[in-house]
C-alpha cells in the first residue's frame, strides 16, 4: 500500500517563472485540488495554498506554485502542476517524496524579514515573507509566502515551527499512530539477526567461537538488573558465579560485556564505568572488583587490557560541535554563499575538525585490532554508559576484522547487536523528541562516516555501496521505523507492551528499517548492492580442520598455557589501575607507556600495509591525513554547483552495473543455448543504460541544468588573499628572462 505514495508525490518544478512571484497574476487553481498522500495514521495538521517554492535559490526566482502542508509526519510541498511521469527518477523513496521532509528531519527553520534571515522558534509575533528549511539530509528549501493569505501563513509557519521544534512526548511519535493504523503486514523474513532473543546471542557466540569462554546470561530478564542493559547479554563463563549479587546493585556497571571474539580466542569487551561521585561505596569496591578481575584475568582468559575511551577519544561535546560546524558547510543558501565557501574550502574543512575526529576513531580502532590480533589480549573498552564511543569502536573493530560484518546482513546484524540492542540512546543523541540539545551528538553518523572511509578505500570488500550508507543515514529520521527511535530495548519493550495493552487489539508490530522494500522498489534496491563484491569462497576442508585443531589445543591445555610470570605481575598492577580507573580517578596513559603502544601499533599497521589485501580477511584503513575524505555523496548530493555531468564515482559504479548486466545477459544466452530454446540469432546487443551522461549527484538529485557560475572564479579568491606587496610580484619583472 505504500507503493501508492507516488500519487501524492509532489510535482517537480515544471512551472518555470522568470519574473518575480509578485508580478505573476495568480490564477486560483480552483478546478484542481491537490491533496497530499497520507500514510496510515498520518493526519493533516495545517496547510497553506499558493506557496512559491524556489527551484534553488540562485537569484533567478525560478520555481513553482503549490500547497505547503504539515502533517504529524512530514512537511510537504505539493505543486499545482503535476509533473509528467516520463522523467520519473530511477531512485525513488516510497515513503518520503522529493519535496517531503519528515518532522524529525528538519534541522533549522529560518524566516526572511526584509531580506534579513532570522531563526524561527517558539511563539512568533511577526510572520516572515520567506521560509527557509534546512533538513538533516542536507536539502535546503526556500518557500515564498508573499502570495499566501495571511491567515494561512500564520497557521503554516507556526504549525511547522511548533511540530518540528517543540519537545514531544515519546508516545506522540508518529511510529505509534502508524503502527496502530497500518494493517498488520506479514512479518517479512529478514536475515538480519535482531539480537532480542537468547538464541540470537547464542548463535553469535557459536559463529565467533566465543562459546568456549563466554556464555549468554538471562539475569536481566524483566530488566531486573538494569534498564540500560539488554534482556540477554554475554559475559565470561565463570563471571556470574564468582561475583556476589552485590554487583547487580550497580545497574550493570562494572560488568564486562562481551562484544565479539577474535579467531585466536581474544575477545572484545565493553563495560560502563562507575560514575565519578560514587564515593560511599568506594571503600568496598576495590576488594570486590579485585575478585572479579582475578577471575577474568586468569587462564583460560587472555591478558586483559583496558581502554578508557573518554580519555583517548574526543568527547561527545566535541563531536557535536565539529559536526554542527561541518554540516553548515553543506547547507548552502544560494550560489553566492557557495562560492564564498569555495574560496577557502580546505581551511574551512580543517576548522570543523570533523575529519580529524573520524581519523582518530579509525586510529583507535586499528590500535584495538592490533591488541586483539597480534598481541592476543582481551580488550575492555570503558565508557560512562558503554553506549556511545564504545559502540563506534567496537563496531569498527568488527567491520575491520570480521568479513561477515561487511556483508549487508552482517552489517545490519552488527548495528542491531552493538547499537540498537547494545543500548545506544538514539532518541537522545538524535534529539528526536527535541527535549534537550545537551544530549545531542551524531555518534551513529560518525560511525557511518568511518565505515564510509573504509568502503571508499576498499570498495570490493563490502557487499553494500556508499549509497546504502547514505540511505541508512537518511533512515535515521524516518519515524515509521522503530530501529532508531528508542534509547534502549527496555524503553521500547515497556512502551510497546503498554500501547498494545491500551489498544486492546492484536499487538501492533513496529517496522524495522532493515526491510528495505518499505522504502525502495527492487530496482532502486539494486543500487544498494555492490556489484564488485564477491562472496567469501568456501574454505577448503583441510584448512578448516587446522583452525579447529588450533582451537582445541588452546582448550585442552588451558592451565599450562605459557603466560609467563612477569606478565602476571604485570597484570596485577594493571588491576590496580583498573580499579582506580573504575572509581573515576582518571589515570592518564594507563598500562603501556604510550610510546611502546604507539610503536607496536605503527609496526603492525605498516607491516599490514606492505602485504596484499585479502578482502575477506583483516582490513585496516589508511589513516594518513590525505586519505580521510569528505563523504561527497551524502553531503554534496543536493548542491548543483558541485555536480559533474557524466563524471564522478557514479560513472564508475554505473559502468560496473552495465558490465554486470552484460554478464548476466550472456549467461542467460548461454543457458538458453544450452537448453536449445533460443533462436540462432542470439547476438543481440545488451541494452546499456546511458551511464555516460549521468550526473555525479545520481541517484539523489535529478540532472540539473548548468548552474550559473562566475566567468572567472579565480578572481574571487584573488581578492581575498592578502595583497602581496608589489615588490614580490616584481620578481616576474626582475626575472623577465626566466619567468615566462
Amino acid at each position: 500500500m505504500l507503493s501508492k505514495a507516488a500519487g501524492g508525490r509532489p510535482a517537480k518544478p515544471s512551472f518555470v517563472s522568470y519574473v518575480s512571484p509578485e508580478e505573476i497574476h495568480i490564477r486560483e487553481p480552483a478546478g484542481k485540488e491537490v491533496n497530499p498522500y497520507l500514510l496510515p495514521g498520518e493526519l493533516l495538521l495545517c496547510e497553506a495554498s499558493t506557496v512559491f517554492k524556489y527551484v534553488q535559490e540562485d537569484g533567478s526566482n525560478r520555481g513553482t506554485y503549490g500547497k505547503l502542508v504539515c502533517t504529524n509526519f512530514k512537511v510537504a510541498f505539493l505543486g499545482y502542476e503535476s509533473a509528467s511521469d516520463d522523467n520519473e527518477p530511477q531512485f525513488k523513496n516510497k515513503v518520503i517524496g522529493e519535496s517531503d521532509i519528515t518532522l524529525h528531519c528538519i534541522d533549522q527553520i529560518y524566516g526572511v524579514y526584509d531580506e534579513k534571515k532570522k531563526s524561527l522558534y517558539g511563539q512568533l509575533k511577526k510572520y516572515p515573507e520567506k521560509l527557509i528549511i534546512y533538513s538533516k539530509d542536507f536539502r535546503v528549501f526556500h518557500f515564498c509566502l508573499r502570495c499566501t493569505k495571511e491567515e494561512e501563513v500564520k497557521r503554516i509557519v507556526s504549525g511547522i515551527v511548533h511540530h518540528s521544534q517543540t519537545p514531544k512526548l515519546l508516545k506522540r511519535l508518529f511510529l505509534f499512530s502508524y503502527a496502530s493504523a497500518a494493517p498488520n503486514s506479514p512479518d517479512a523474513k529478514n536475515r538480519t539477526v535482531m539480537f532480542d532473543t537468547f538464541k540470537d546471542w547464542h548463535e553469535e557466540l557459536e559463529r565467533t567461537k566465543g562459546n568456549v569462554k563466554y556464555e549468554v546470561v538471562s539475569v536481566n530478564e524483566g530488566y531486573r538488573v538494569s534498564e540500560k542493559l539488554p534482556l540477554y547479554f554475554v559475559v565470561p563463563k565463570s563471571f556470574l558465579k564468582s561475583v556476589t549479587e552485590s554487583i547487580l546493585v550497580h545497574q550493570g556497571r562494572g560488568i564486562p560485556i562481551w562484544c565479539w571474539s577474535c579467531h585466536n580466542g581474544a575477545a572484545l569487551l565493553k563495560m560502563s564505568a562507575f560514575p565519578k561521585e560514587q564515593d560511599d561505596s568506594a571503600l568496598q569496591m576495590p576488594k570486590l572488583l579485585d575478585g572479579i578481575y582475578k577471575t577474568i584475568h586468569a587462564p583460560p582468559y587472555e591478558v586483559l587490557k583496558m581502554d578508557d575511551l573518554s580519555s583517548s577519544l574526543p568527547s561527545l561535546q566535541d563531536i557535536q560541535t565539529a559536526y554542527t560546524r561541518f554540516k553548515q558547510l553543506f547547507l548552502i543558501d544560494n550560489s553566492i554563499h557557495f562560492w564564498d565557501t569555495d574560496v577557502k574550502w580546505f581551511s574551512l574543512l580543517e576548522s570543523t575538525n570533523w575529519l580529524e575526529i573520524i581519523r582518530r576513531c579509525l586510529k583507535k580502532s586499528v590500535e584495538v585490532v592490533e591488541q586483539l590480533e597480534r598481541q592476543t589480549t582481551n580488550v575492555l573498552l570503558i565508557e560512562e554508559n558503554a553506549s556511545d564511543l564504545c559502540c563506534v569502536i567496537s563496531s569498527l573493530v568488527q567491520v575491520m576484522m570480521d568479513s561477515y560484518c561487511r556483508t549487508k546482513f552482517g552489517f545490519q546484524s552488527l548495528i542491531q547487536k552493538e547499537w540498537v540492542i547494545g543500548g545506544h540512546s538514539f532518541l537522545d543523541r538524535c534529539n528526536h523528541l527535541r527535549k534537550s540539545d545537551k544530549e545531542e551528538a551524531p555518534v551513529f553518523l560518525l560511525f557511518l562516516d568511518c565505515v564510509w572511509q573504509l568502503v571508499q578505500q576498499y570498495p570490493p570488500a563490502f557487499e553494500f555501496t556508499e549509497t546504502y550508507l547514505t540511505v541508512l543515514s537518511d533512515s535515521l529520521y524516518i519515524p515509521i521505523f522503530s530501529t532508531f527511535f528508542f534509547n534502549s530495548q527496555h524503553q521500547k519493550d515497556t512502551i510497546v507492551s503498554g500501547e498494545s495493552h491500551n489498544a486492546q487489539s492484536s499487538p501492533f508490530r513496529l517496522l524495522t528499517v532493515w526491510d528495505w522494500s518499505v522504502q525502495f522498489e527492487p530496482k532502486a534496491q539494486a543500487l544498494l548492492n555492490n556489484p564488485l563484491y564477491a562472496e567469501k569462497p568456501k574454505p577448503d576442508k583441510s584448512q578448516r580442520k587446522t583452525t579447529r585443531f588450533k582451537h582445541h589445543r588452546q582448550l585442552s591445555l588451558p592451565l599450562t598455557q605459557t603466560k609467563s610470570s612477569p606478565k602476571r605481575g604485570f597484570f596485577r598492577e594493571e588491576t590496580d589501575h583498573l580499579i582506580k580507573n573504575i572509581l573515576g580517578k582518571r589515570i592518564s596513559k594507563l598500562i603501556n607507556s604510550s610510546e611502546e603502544l604507539h610503536s607496536n601499533f605503527r609496526e603492525f599497521y605498516d607491516s599490514w600495509h606492505c602485504k596484499p589485501v585479502d578482502f575477506h580477511g583483516l582490513l585496516l584503513p589508511h589513516i594518513e591525513g590525505p586519505e580521510i575524505k569528505v563523504w561527497t555523496q551524502r553531503y554534496l548530493r543536493w548542491i548543483p554547483e558541485a555536480q559533474l555531468l557524466g563524471g564522478g564515482t557514479v560513472a564508475i559504479a554505473t559502468k560496473f552495473l552495465d558490465v554486470m548486466e552484460e554478464v548476466q545477459k550472456l549467461q542467460k544466452q548461454m543457458d538458453e543455448e544450452h537448453s536449445q530454446t533460443a533462436p540462432e540469432d542470439a547476438d543481440a546487443v545488451p541494452t546499456l543504460r546511458n551511464s555516460a551522461r549521468l550526473s555525479s549527484l545520481f541517484p539523489f538529485a535529478l540532472l540539473q541544468r548548468h548552474s550559473l557560475k562566475p566567468v572567472l572564479p579565480t578572481s574571487t579568491w584573488k581578492d581575498l588573499e592578502d595583497e602581496e606587496d608589489l615588490a614580490k610580484r616584481d620578481d616576474e619583472f626582475v626575472e623577465l628572462s626566466g619567468a615566462d
Binding site: 580529524e356 605503527r602 609496526e603 589485501v613 575477506h616 563524471g647 572567472l712 579565480t714 619583472f733 615566462d740
Partner: protein, 618 residues
Amino acid sequence: MEHIRTTKVEQVKLLDRFSTNNKSLTGTLYLTATHLLFIDSGQKETWILHHHIAAVEKLALTTSGCPLVIQCKNFRIVHFIVPRERDCHDIYNSLLQLSRPVRYDELYAFSYNPKQKESEQVKGWQLIDLAEEYKRMGVPNTNWQLSDANRDYKVCETYPRDLYVPRIASKPIIVGSSKFRSKGRFPVLSYYHKDKEAAICRCSQPLSGFSARCLEDEHMLQAISKANPANRYMYVMDTRPKLNAMANRAAGKGYENEDNYSNIRFQFVGIENIHVMRSSLQKLLEVSGIRGLSVNDFLSGLENSGWLRHIKAVLDAAVVLAKAIVVENASVLVHCSDGWDRTSQVCSLGALLLDSYYRTIKGFMVLIEKDWISFGHKFSDRCCQLDGDPKEISPVFTQFLECVWNLTEQFPQAFEYNEAFLLQIHEHVHSCQFGNFLGNCQKEREELKLREKTYSLWPFLLDEQKKYLNPLYNPDFSRKLTLLEPNTVSLNFKFWRNMYHQFDRTMHPRQSVYNLIMDMNEQNKQLERDMKELEAKIKVRNKQQNAVLTKEPLQSVHPTLKTQCFKKDQPLLPGNDAIRTIEGSNTADNRYSEYMEEFSKAEPAVVSLEYGVARMTC
C-alpha cells in the same frame, strides 16, 4: 666515469620514510655510470637514475652509520645509512657530480641503446607528425595557411619551423608583429576547431610598455579575428595576474590595450608565475612528507601551500578558453609573459577539453609534442636537465599532468589512458633517457641531432600501451568535438597521492578497483574466445554427425568450458608480464611493475572474484 670512486658498498641500510619501525632493509649499494642501484637481502632491486636525483644530502653521523638522503625529481625520497663515513662521502661526492651534467652529450639519452635497428629509430621519430595533426584539425584551409616565415628560425628561435597563420596575414605583418612581441613569439595557431571555425592562438606578451603601439601587431590580431567567420570578436587572454602584467609594463612589456585593437576582449586569468609554483609545490611536499599526518595538519598545509588553488586556476583558465570557443564561437589568443609556460598549459588543456582525440593515448602524445615540445616549453631549464640556474626550475609540466589527472578523476570514462600513463610520461620528462624532452626548443634539438643520436619515447609507450589503458574508457562517452565540462569547485580537486607518494609503499592501496576491472575485462574476452571456439567445435560436430543435434554433446561441452575458465586464472593476473621492456637492459624506475609483481603473487580476493565472475558466466 671519472667521478666514481667507490662502486660498491656493502651493509647499507635503506630506511622507509613513512614507517616508524626500524625494520630497515640491508643490502648492497652499487654506483654505475648511469644509475645508483640498491640490492637488498631479498634480491629486490631499486634503481635510481642519476638524472632523477634532485638533491643529495649527507646528514650528521649516527651510531649506526652515515645517513645519506636522496631526493628525486619523481618525488622518490630514499634514506640510506652507509656504515663507513668515508664510503658515504665518496658516494655523496660522486652523486653530486653525476646528477649535474654540464653538457647535453653527457645525458643518458646519448648512451642509451635499446638495441633497435636504425630504421626503427627513424620510424620511431616519425610516429608523431605534426603536419598530419594540423591536417586532422582541418588546416590549411581557406582562412589558415602554413607560413614559411620561420623556416630558418629567423623570425623566432624558440618556435618550430612550421607555423600556421591566418591567410591574410602577410609576411611583413608577421615580421612586424614578432618585433613587437617578447622573444619574437608572435601570434600563431595552436588549435583549430573544425565545427566552430574558431581557433586557439598563442603568443608572448606585447612590448607595449605604457603606451607603445604596433600597427602590424594590431593587423595580426585583426587577421586572426577575421579568420573566424562566425564571430568577429576575439578574446585575448592574459594568463597572468593583473599585478604581474602591470609590473611588466615598467620594463617595456605588458599587455594589449583594448582601445588599440579592434574587436578584442581582453581578460586576465591570474595564474601565478613559475617561482610561486615552485615554492608552492615545495610547501606541499613538506606537508605530505610528515609521518602520521593528521587530517587537520594536512588540510591546513594543503591550503597554505596553495597548490590545488594553482591547479584550479590553470584548469579554470582552460575552461574559460574552451567555453569561449564552443559557446561564443570566438577565437582566443592566449599569452603570458614569454608564452611557453602558462600559455602551453592553458592551450593544451583547452584543446584537451575541446577535442576527444587528445583523450586517446596517441592523441595525448600529439598534444604534448605540439603544445609543449614544438612551441618551446623550456624542458631543459624547467626540469634542470643540465646544471643551471635553480630559479629556472619549476613544476609547470607536472602541473599540466596533474590537471589532466584531475580531469581523468572527474570523468573516468572519457580518457583512453590511465594514471600510469601520466606518471610514466612524468618519469621520462625528467629521466633524459629519450630525446623528446631534451633541450629548450626545436632549434636546439636539431643542433643536438637528437633524431640521429637518441630514441623517441612515444613508440616505446605505444608498444606497452596495454598497461596504460583505462578499463573504464568509453569511446562513445563524448562524440567528436564535444566539450568536456569539468567542475572546478575546490572540493573536486584532490591531492595526487600516486604522483607525490608513488614510491612510498605504505601509502598505497594495494589492489585498485581498476586492476579488478582489467582482470574482468580480460576474463570476459577469454570467455568470449572460448565460446567462439566451442561454437566452432559444435558446428564441426554437427556436420560430422550430419543428423539432428542431440543434447548430449552440448552437455559434455559445458563442463569443459568451466574447467577452462578456471585454468585461465593464472595468466590473467596483471603484472605477471611486469618486467619492463622499455628500459632495455635494465629495469630502472620500475615503479609500477614493482607493485604489480609484489601484489600479484597471492591475491585471494582477486581469485575469489574471478571465481564469482566465472561462475556467473559459465
